[in-house]
């Protein structure tokens, strides 16, 4: 039969098991971002430009009728060159290679920068065409970030290129 003392022992051990699980299931709290900090994220995916040339009429005539595209493009796409400047300091500068074995896919980037909450001056520059020196797109402005707020730098040609969100 179960002895009373061993019953007490069992209750104590079960309670210890429950307390251990109950505690570490939600404690200690994990602080992921200090209270006065905010976050800037660079997140975009975009097809870089392709190098194309116009086919001459003679060339077109030589092609089968269903393949007479006026432009002849290389398969490979241009990488994306991106710079991010925060309060006058360059925090990011990189060249993103297109995906795909033939480097013909989309080029995507995702980066996070922790910043203090408050007002910042943010500038982003993008080049998506290797044949152009300098940048093809630029966007800058003052941004006001509340604690824990996330600001996303994105790119969408339909929304006029680079933008902050």
């Amino acid at each position: 039969m179960v002895k009373p003392l061993s019953l007490v022992g069992q209750v104590v051990l079960y309670a210890a098991f429950a307390a251990f699980i109950g505690y570490f299931a939600s404690h200690p709290k994990y602080r992921h971002l200090a209270p006065d900090r905010a976050m800037v994220k660079l997140s975009m995916s975009h097809f870089g430009a392709r190098e194309c040339r116009t086919r001459s009429a003679a060339e077109l005539a030589r092609l089968p009728p269903n393949m007479r595209a006026p432009l002849e493009c290389k398969r490979e796409r241009s990488p994306l060159r991106i710079e991010v400047e925060l309060d006058g300091q360059t925090v990011y500068r990189d060249s993103i290679r297109p995906t795909g074995i033939a480097r013909d896919g989309v080029a995507a980037v995702y980066r996070r920068f922790e910043v203090g909450a408050g007002t910042h001056r943010l500038a982003v520059r993008l080049n998506d065409d290797a044949r152009v020196s300098g940048f093809t797109h630029m966007h800058e402005g003052a941004v006001e970030l509340k604690p824990a707020q996330i600001l996303v730098i994105d790119f969408n040609p339909d929304h006029g290129g680079l933008f902050f969100r």
């Binding site: 051990l13 570490f24 299931a25 404690h27 971002l33 995702y110 996330i150």
Partner: protein
């Protein structure tokens, strides 16, 4: 290599101390530390059943899911709320039990040799358990879900395969949609299902799997989780909001610890950690370790095809095949890769009876390193050397307390490969060859190094399992006392008490002798 052995034996000692404590409270059959695998299965079922309930009642649209979880947690003591809490705590318990089980098997030296399959097949369970748990935390789509989903995405994105593509889904509101949630729920159903299949694979190679705890332990564990769910219901954070960082979260450290690790170091370090742990666990069986025991051997001439070795082998290492010469008869065959060399089959074989009047006793299935014939000879020789009464024979097991340390002028001891190897007739043989009493010992209840040995011999001696000890053998002259290596003192005390009882018994209940009794006068 020495330091590893020391760490291992140190951890083993910690387990043994804890098991002593648990033995005092729960008893061997219900000691959770000796049934961690079974406890893991129980917790799996608790999580699965509560999870199915949640799956039925939750609405899985991206906006609806949070609301429907909130409805459940607004009334945490209603059935839905309780089941949600038990789902969470059950999953935490599963992780804890899995970790303890792994460390215990390692500490007891069970990661190699014939157990390599059990060990290696345990490793994918860890991956699947964490994948299930982490995915589960995303479902309520609160701030904690958002944190974990993004942390996982950023971690996965480190792999060249993804290159940022996953995290971008969480970068801004509006990208996630209902389809994402359908996918999530699908994953959270599918991965646990894979886990169940993997659990089956983990245990299917051994026989009579301990896959559910005894009733008392099962009820105790279930009630504990229920009480925990009532006292501290699972939380729900504010709804996810992708425009802010969940700066502080009430993290579940059992399941989500990888996120703080990845943030405190780097995604690469966290991957390295996962890869290193996995590789280490997977190669452990290949590292130097003690040599394997020789395996059991069948003597076809002495096997009558009764299948008892097949029934009792803990590792399913015996198969019964049609007898090549006798139509309609069966013959045992040993699969060497599976054989633990425990000798339990020799104890199960009816041909192992020492009363057979043959010069060399060859049994149906025997151990080359400790044949039954040698046992019979050793017993006779040692008994003859005893000088004083009461003459006691102790049968023990090399995996438990080393009984040879008990030998003196009145006691001889035989250490078996496993106490389950003892043919019950050898007990009778000892008593009829001049022993006044027989003490049988081995690993503590529920703690047999070969899983089933002490259970089988206990049943045989009580007459509950074939081959059984004949009822004519006087119970007063037999004692069973389980003792692990650290239980020497208790065993000595038990032996002393047994001797006193035998003295008191005098010549009463003495079975008929098969040899001339050696009587010492003076």
């Amino acid at each position: 290599m020495k330091s590893k052995v020391n760490l291992r034996t140190g951890v083993r000692a910690v387990f043994e101390r804890a098991e002593d404590l648990f033995d005092a409270g729960f008893g061997g059959a219900n000691n959770p530390l000796r049934h961690l695998g079974a406890l893991g299965f129980l917790l799996f079922w608790i999580v699965a059943i509560s999870g199915l309930y949640l799956y039925i009642v939750l609405d899985t649209g991206i906006t609806q899911v949070y609301e429907s979880v909130r409805a459940l947690s607004s009334d945490p003591r209603a059935p839905g709320g309780i089941l949600r809490s038990m789902h969470r705590y059950g999953a935490d318990g599963f992780m804890l039990v899995m970790g303890l089980h792994l460390v215990r098997e390692w500490a007891f030296g069970r990661s190699h040799g014939f157990r390599w399959y059990s060990w290696v097949s345990g490793v994918p369970l860890i991956w699947l358990a964490f994948a299930s748990g982490i995915g589960g935390y995303w479902i309520p789509w609160d701030r904690l879900a958002q944190f974990s989903a993004l942390a996982t995405a950023e971690w996965l994105d480190w792999l060249p395969l993804f290159g940022g593509a996953i995290s971008r889904n969480f970068a801004s509101p509006g990208v996630l949609n209902d389809r994402f949630f359908t996918l999530l729920v699908f994953i959270h159903l599918g991965v646990p299902l894979l886990l169940l299949v993997a659990l089956w694979a983990h245990v299917h190679r051994i026989s009579r799997v301990d896959h559910f705890p005894r009733r008392r332990l099962a009820i105790g564990t279930g009630l504990t989780l229920l009480l925990l769910a009532l006292i501290a219901p699972a939380r729900l954070d504010a709804a996810a909001d992708l425009s802010i960082v969940p700066a502080e979260v009430a993290l579940d450290w059992f399941i989500l610890f990888i996120h703080p690790l990845a943030y405190a170091t780097s995604s690469a370090t966290a991957w390295l950690f996962v890869a290193a742990v996995s590789v280490l666990l997977l190669v452990l069986p290949l590292l130097p370790h003690p040599a394997r025991q020789p395996v059991a051997r069948v003597s076809p001439a002495n096997c009558n095809g009764c299948s008892r070795c097949f029934a009792d082998c803990p590792y399913a290492a015996v198969v019964m095949e049609p007898h090549p010469d006798k139509p309609g008869h069966k013959l045992a065959r040993v699969i060497p890769e599976l054989c633990a060399g425990c000798g339990i089959c020799a104890g199960a074989c009816p041909s192992s009876t020492p009363f057979r009047s043959v010069e060399e006793l060859v049994t149906g299935i025997d151990m080359p390193q400790q044949p039954v014939d040698a046992l019979r000879r050793e017993l006779a020789a040692r008994l003859a050397r005893l000088e004083a009464a009461p003459r006691a024979v102790v049968f023990g097991c090399t995996e438990a307390f080393d009984v040879r340390a008990l030998e003196d002028a009145r006691t001889c001891a035989i250490s078996l490969l496993c106490t389950g190897m003892l043919p019950p007739s050898l007990v009778e043989y000892a008593l009829r060859s001049g022993a006044d009493g027989v003490l049988v010992t081995g690993c503590r209840e529920g703690g047999c190094a070969f899983r089933l040995g002490n259970g089988w011999i206990g049943e045989r001696l009580r007459g509950e399992r074939e081959p059984h000890l004949r009822a004519s053998v006087p119970a007063q002259r037999l004692r069973v006392l389980w003792a692990d290596a650290r239980d020497g003192e208790r065993l000595r005390a038990g032996l002393a008490e047994f001797r006193r009882d035998l003295d008191a018994l005098g010549d009463a209940h003495r079975p008929r002798s098969i040899v001339r009794r050696i009587v010492h006068h003076g």
